[in-house]
Symmetry: none
Subunit: 188 residues, 4 copies
């Protein structure tokens, strides 16, 4: 009888590992509890359904992701907007590379008819704010901040995915390439 948090965490981690390894559908609740080393009832003590773990994983992922980037940004002088963008890009790429497998599985493989998830919205809001501040301070001009944020975010995803797929998974190189690309968008 450990504290509830420990169990929940064990179960979520076990689930994440299996989802990554075998996919969501192929992973059974049995697999999860076996790997977590608890009884099946325990799973349902903490999660109402199998879907629930996925949702919890999503939230945990987003929370971690957003926090990591926010922490990095906090280290950055508030008025050097280009540096802030570079920091955002670096943090985002690194966080994504570190966990893209879980990201894939949890955000793409499982979509219960929610095209634009709350989670993505948070990330977009974070980037939009950064871009908006830069625009306000005339570090760059942007006719449509939100569209730019989305294009940059999804563009980043695509390029990183491609880098991973083609084996060029080095965060530094990817960031350089993306900086060049997105630098063109962030002009006066």
């Amino acid at each position: 009888m450990l504290p509830a948090e420990v169990r929940v965490d064990d179960l979520m981690t076990a689930a994440a590992d299996l989802f990554i390894a075998k996919g969501i559908e192929a992973t059974t609740v049995n697999d999860i509890v076996e790997l977590a080393g608890v009884g099946k009832g325990t799973f349902y003590h903490y999660f109402a359904t199998k879907e629930d773990v996925i949702l919890a994983l999503r939230e945990r992922f987003s929370r971690d992701f957003t926090k990591k980037v926010a922490d990095a940004l906090a280290q950055c002088p508030g008025d050097d907007h280009r540096a802030r963008f570079a920091t955002w890009l670096r943090g985002t790429v690194e966080a994504y590379i570190a966990n893209y497998e879980l990201h894939d599985v949890v955000f793409h493989e499982f979509r219960h008819s929610n095209r634009n998830s709350k989670e993505k919205e948070i990330v977009i809001a974070q980037l939009s704010a950064l871009l908006g501040e830069g625009a306000k301070a005339d570090a760059w001009s942007l006719p449509d901040v939100r569209a730019a944020a989305i294009a940059i975010y999804d563009g980043m995803h695509g390029v990183v995915d491609d880098a991973i797929a083609t084996g060029n998974g080095d965060a530094g190189a990817i960031c350089d390439r993306l900086s060049l690309l997105f630098g063109r968008i962030l002009v006066a």
Copy 2:
């Protein structure tokens, strides 16, 4: 006893409608044959497995998509690279808006652990070629054509998704916004 093609088409269309409405997993072969108005055995006459329909749907979607854009490009003078890009963008956005629901379901919901599908590769190749030609003709310069193609393509997807989600699904307005954005990337 209609010609086989008609049957196949009926089944694919029924499947597509159901996949969009209920998702792939929730759609059973029973649902499909019922909507198509044929017996269950007929399904297995034309498709080896349920997966097969999805694959067929993917191919049909890609074929249509690529063809539509290629046709539009064919109308365009080969040396006006900016116009060609505008044409590509317009065609792509329109085709995507017209069928994004099927696109979602068939390309995202079903991923047999294939991060970069053959189909996406074709589209990227098409755009890369266009961008490469423009670069070669000095219409613009591009340090990394493939990265630019991917970023533009995925960026476009994200912005269109957002436009649809927020109810601004007008192709013209979206293209204008995207032209402004991507125009910045395509500079000398």
Copy 3:
């Protein structure tokens, strides 16, 4: 691949036997298909849920029951109302004795919040008609035909149950006792 009716019947009979022997709750769908000698899927080919068999059993029971009594009554001169009541009583008691186990299980053990089932209503209507005709022909008088029908029907059930429980399960003797009792109700 036998005709559908055969399978349905096999399954219903197997279910009935098991319900009687072990009770509804204790009987699993597995038990049923095993006894019926079919695959588990076959069960769900014909019945949507386990409850469905119970409902089907109810209807079959009622249909048989009503028909048996109606047939017996058809043999009876339409104007000898006392004889008709005796016939009804005899038929009802016999049919009930022959199948009270199934009756118990199917009508009492399983009640999905339906106090007065459609099935009972049919039987009551049948008896009410008989009593009403007798009253109209002055074979007896009855201030409240429906109440009398219900009291007689449920009273019969109770007495037969008691006879069965105490081992006096002889239909003839039971009918004699009941005739005496109910004869008092059916007076001018």
Copy 4:
């Protein structure tokens, strides 16, 4: 930490309410403790199993029921047998109407293969005694006291059920109708 009796009573009442509302099977021990506002362990302090509550509920119901009728009868002169029967009828109908939902659930829905419960036997014995005394005193004659008691008791149940179902749940009117009916049985 209330006195044990209070706890037991809270649990029984919670259970009764839920059994009535959702049925016995559908009611979980969790539901019960939640409604009672106690921990799950507490339930098992006072009841060995879930069945135990049902049994306890049965006994409480029967005790209350029998007592109520016995009290009413005690007010009645011992030699006015018709009045005594009328009192019995009135008390029984009223008690039943007041609690028929619990009665249903506790006596019908849960039957551990006990067709004739000990509890019913008590009630029948009570009525049999009353009828027997009347017969001995020549207030009426009865060839089979037990059969009459059962028929009257079950007949009463049926008629009251019907009255409730058809919305004529007035105890007075029901008793009038039943008096007329059963009065015919209780003749010299």
